[in-house]
């Protein structure tokens, strides 16, 4: 699966130049002391993104469909919102730009015809999670001093090693996209056993549903027969390469079907369903639920315990704070009483 350079959807040189440009743009856009050319940085980063999009579009000029103009609009909004989110010095604005990114992402979801997830994203993220973030931002930010309302905290006004982080991030992006576009070389498969057949043999119902109508319709199996499942393992005897499957008589179904009692049916190649294969997700699901069912339960319990723990922790702190406030209030009242009604201001 090692593709030649010419087969890549984008010229790698163009991709790397665009990544370097994007890194420079992000570095410029980062908050820092003194004048802040965020617009210049944003423009450079946008030019870099445009180069990649242009390269991808030119690369797809071989009769392949290109995404619609809505894709470019939503992608630009999402990436621009993300860029402004990580570069805006004020946390509230950063959260609002993240909402822009989320809504643009939900537009991309709609383009991918994932309608439910698009609206769930807006409701859960923009409606719930980010609002929680906004509340915490407002709770946990020092009140501005009266003389300079727009003053920023020191830790908001300057970024932490923007050059090293941007370089690392965009090297990562270049490598990720190279891997995505190149694909991975063919991985060796387990010798001796076809993993697709191994998954199919253990899947409940899939082979039966796919093959029974075909076998019955073509007279390869009698009405009183069914696809055999081994008594000891519950597996189906199937061989996709040879197009064979073991069937057994329903009369003796209660007994243990073995290779001897069953009948090996060879299905003609043109009748064999081409979509009958064990997929990765089915294998994963069988593995997860068949072999590690406790893991899921434990994961659920861990999540529940984390939630309860967080609640208990936060409650205790709130109580302490209220206690402190009450003590402070008593103290102030005492001070006022000592100073007298005229002295209290």
């Amino acid at each position: 699966m090692n593709l030649a350079i010419a087969d890549l959807p984008i010229n790698p040189l163009l991709l790397y130049i665009a990544c370097a440009l994007g890194a420079v743009g992000v570095i410029f856009a980062m908050p820092r002391r003194g004048n802040n050319p965020a617009i210049v940085g944003g423009l450079v980063a946008a030019v870099a993104a445009g180069l990649v999009v242009l390269g991808l579009t030119l690369g797809s000029g071989r009769g392949e469909p290109t995404p619609s103009v809505f894709f470019y609009i939503f992608a630009l909004l999402a990436l621009g919102g993300g860029l402004r989110m990580i570069t805006h010095p004020k946390p509230v604005y950063a959260a609002l730009y993240f909402i822009l990114t989320i809504i643009a992402s939900s537009g991309l979801y709609l383009l991918l015809s994932a309608e439910f997830m698009a609206f769930a994203l807006v409701v859960i993220y923009a409606g719930a999670i980010i609002i929680t973030y906004l509340f915490v931002i407002m709770l946990a930010t020092q009140a501005p001093s009266a003389d300079d309302v727009d003053a920023l905290s020191v830790y908001d006004a300057s970024a932490h090693e923007p050059i090293a982080a941007s370089a690392a991030g965009f090297v990562l992006l270049a490598l990720l996209t190279t891997m995505l576009f190149h694909g991975t070389p063919d991985l060796p498969t387990r010798p001796g056993i076809d993993s697709s057949d191994a998954i199919l043999a253990r899947l409940p119902g899939k082979v039966d549903d796919a093959l029974t109508p075909i076998l019955l319709a073509n007279g390869l199996m009698n009405e009183d027969e069914r696809i055999a499942r081994m008594a000891d393992t519950g597996e189906v005897m199937i061989n996709s390469a040879k197009h064979t499957v073991l069937v057994t008589n329903a009369e003796v179904a209660g007994e243990a079907p073995t290779r001897e009692t069953g009948r090996l049916v060879e299905v003609p190649a043109e009748l064999w369903p081409s979509d009958l294969s064990g997929t990765n997700v089915e294998g994963l699901g069988l593995n997860l639920l068949g072999e590690h069912p406790m893991t899921i339960e434990i994961a659920g319990v861990v999540l529940l315990m984390a939630m309860l723990g967080a609640t208990v922790l936060a409650r205790k702190q709130v109580d302490l704070e209220e206690e402190a406030k009450a003590r402070q209030a008593r103290h102030l009242a005492l001070d006022g009483a000592i100073a007298g009604p005229g002295g209290a201001n």
Partner: protein, 127 residues
């Protein structure tokens, strides 16, 4: 739908569509567009996490990375014409919500300790 699954390989060309009423699958090159947007979003999240010193914005950047992963999952699900990607995004959203609740509770606790959101104030945790 499963016929489409069998025909689709990551490096193959256009998917052949057996059922015309099902929405069109993504071609490999179009999938690459979505994957690039996802990768760029992830890189932006990492850069933000590394550079910003505000604890809340650092956690917002992790949410941006969750978003990038979700977009890639949905695009892959669309490419394979099944719903596995979308169900995984539901899990990602669940984890993101749980993570946001936990992280924000921690941020509030840390803020009460130091009266500041500066991550550098906790530099002694480096050991």
């Amino acid at each position: 739908m499963h016929a489409l699954l069998a025909d689709s390989t990551l490096t193959g060309g256009l998917l052949t569509l057996a059922q015309s009423d099902f929405p069109h699958a993504l071609s490999t090159l179009t999938l690459n567009h979505y994957l690039f947007v996802s990768a760029a979003m992830f890189a932006l999240g990492i850069i933000g996490f590394l550079t910003r010193r505000n604890l809340i914005i650092m956690f917002l950047c992790t949410e941006l990375m969750f978003q990038a992963a979700g977009l890639a999952l949905i695009a892959f699900g669309r490419y394979h014409l099944n719903f596995d990607g979308q169900s995984f995004v539901i899990f990602v959203l669940t984890i993101a919500a749980a993570e946001a609740a936990m992280a924000l509770a921690l941020v509030v606790l840390l803020f009460r300790r130091r009266e500041s959101l500066d991550a550098d104030l906790w530099a002694e945790l480096k050991g």
